[in-house]
Amino acid sequence: MGVMLRYLTSKLKYLKLVNQYYATNQKNQAPSQDEKTPTSLTQNLTTNLEILNGFIGNNFDLVIRKFTFGEHRQTNAALVYLNGMTDQTMINESILKPLLFESVPNSNPASNHSVIEMITMTMLSVAEIKKRTLIQDIVEGYLSGETILLVDGSPEALVIMTSDWKSRSITDPKTESVVRGPREGFIENLLTNTTLIRRKIKSSDLVFESMKIGERTKTTVCIAYIKDIANPLLIEEIKRRLKDIKTDSILESGIVEQYIEDAPFSIFSTIANTEKPDLAAAKILEGRAAILVDGTPFVLTVPMVFIESFQSSEDYYSRPYFASIIRMFRYLAYMLSILAPATYVALTTYHQELIPTALLFSMSAAQEGVPFPVLVEALGMGVIFEILREAGVRLPRPVGQAVSIVGALVIGESAVSAGLIGAPMVIVVALTAIASFVVPAQTDSGGILRAIFTVLAGFSGGFGIMVGLIGVSIHLASLRSFGTPYLSPLAPLSVPDLKDTFIRAPLWAMITRPRTIGWHDPKRQEFRLKPGPPSEEDASSN
């Protein structure tokens, strides 16, 4: 025992040293990395192209189109753009055509207007044009699909907004399908995603603040919130955490999530994600902030509370009774998914007296001749289920079907009839599997908890499960997501917020926003919204 502990602490000390080493080294290296001092353009086109080539040369998708324009074809110019990220028609029709075939309005050399200015003002029919002098700025524009127009004799370049690339069209969200509700889902294009949210909330108070993260990927990350609902401290904190990310690549919002989450060691996620614009809009309207990352349809929303996992956008679109019942079933399913195998193990190995006699008969009969202890059975079936699930997710669809057939037939049928596994165990695992998909946001943590609880139940029965539950409760209560207690509104208890916790109160009764999230501007709607036929007073006054 002592040896093992000593080994572990020595390992930890080693890790600590490594971290310190890198921390000090980074400080030394930091300035050297930023040595690329800003370079300005010159007046000479050829020199400019050479400088530019130094940055972006040697690429097969680089296009440099040289041409002359003006009344006497006296001015040399060049267009530089990335093939594939730009709109070719736009370059042809709106940039090249006017430059080649229309004469430059008589530019008075005495006037303040340079050639560049004249072109911008009178010739190019493109909405967004920026003037840039620094090479770095130009390269950045070029890499995002903008077209660079360099004109001989001008130390400025025009960065023309022509970016356009192929993206997926808006389709059903794959991970969150609904029976009732909007069918559109976010896509990989950030601009489309912001548009989807903007279309839901046509308010001037909706703010999209963007920043670029990732030394090499330069991924645009966008924070969306409503100015007068979201807590300014929350927005400040999100911005601070995002700015602190110093990494070379941000490829998906999950990467951002792992850099800014509150409890990196917890199995529970403290940041929610969604693929549905209506859900993102609803959360923004409650006072949360959404973090959109370019290149992924998954939008993060913060702060997240535990009960959010049990809420679905559909709850608010269907009538309150059914929505409330379904929501309670979700809580039940979650408890089942983490506790069913553990309870089965505890009952059959420690608390047989708790099983009704008739049920004990059939369970005992099914267990007769099974060579493994129930705990081994439960863990084994759990592993098999996880493997099957993973295989089903990864495999191409036609093969996936084969996996499910093999899984259902071989594991379900044959194992039982061969006497390797008791039939009740298969039922319990199947029930657990189905139940675990009811609460998608907690499927990953649920799987881990299930294994832990099963082992605890195998070693100390119901007592073990109780210890585990208390431990998980303590842990959940200690978590925070961007300052909001993870278990709110249950702990700390906020009675008005219970309207949207275990039940979903009628919409007209949900007057205030969640206390722990949107209290900056608590009033959501007018007080008297309960619908009904006109009262007699109304009728007489009419």
Binding site: L12, L15, S364
Partner: protein, 394 residues
Amino acid sequence: MKHLNKLVTTLLIFILLTLGTTGCWNRRELPSLAIVLGVGLDKMEDSDQLEMTTQIIKTSELKASTPEESGAGGSGGAGAYWNVRNSGETVFSTTRDFTHKVSRKLYFPHNQLIIFGSSLAEQGVQEHLDFFLRDQETRLEVFVLVADDRASDIFDVKPRLEKVPSMKIAELMDAQAANSTTSIVRLNQFATRLMSDTTAPIAPIIEVLGKGNERELSVKGTAVFKEDKLIGQLNKVETRGLLWVIDRIKSGIIDVNCRDTIVSLEIIRAQGKISSEIIDGQPYIKIEIKEDGNIASQCCPIDLVSPNAVAELEELQAEAIKAEIQAALRKAQKLNADIFGFGDIIHQRHPKEWQELKDDWDEIFPDLDVEIIVEAKLRRSGSLGQPVVLDKEQ
């Protein structure tokens, strides 16, 4: 880093403590249990030793669920159960001795019955009950029964509907509520009566009818104990008389004679109340019964729509109930066993006077004055008012 270090250490200690301290010492897999469903206690025929019969479920046989398969072995232990017999001095040592015969550990929490053989019951049951009250594996809600003859014979009678005799008897007990002519006694009730100074314990009697493959189990009447020894029994009528008084009537049929035909009246609700009074040092007991009934079937050629006819039937019903109670009372006084708990009632209501009475209770009880007041009502006549065949004269 410091945080992680602390976390890992705490986690390690936590896991080691929970797993190490408990260490699955009392883990039992289902196939390692011999689930006991019934216990029979007898006196050995040739010696004074205790003979214990335990009915163990054969879980492997339960899988072959058709009765033909499980019943193919004929009489005795064949089927989904196994009756194991063992003898010894005390219940506990005999129980432990079963390990010589049964490969699995006897598991008592699902035990349904304790059946005393009549010869053992006559000698006294107290010493044998202690194990079932003291051990933490046994339950207090098991049924206590007395066999007409030997308890071990009861377990050998193959049930027709259920797979295991013990389950059949347990379900039979539950079914008795429809008639209320059998007392249903659980271990805690039996023990409570045993603990009382005066109240006599009771238990239903179970007997084997028929011979060979035609054997059937049947419950009849009530066994009456004095202290812990069996001294006599009540028949069905007397049993219901007892149940009226101790307020344990659930349902049942009362047949009354009406102009040479029989009218069956169904008991819907019944309430029994005992009160006591002491006049000049002499205790008096008053029994009040309130009963609601329905007309279940009648051939009596009277029109029940008329209030007079109903009043007549109500009176007949009250008399029938009174007769049942009187029969029970006579038998109890003859046996000098206070099965009604009159002594406890007087103890509760007149604690001072009881101090003088309690020592002489055995002399007082046989001649105790008991007043019986029955208030019987008929509430409904079913779907019919008049019987289908009315009196020809009318």
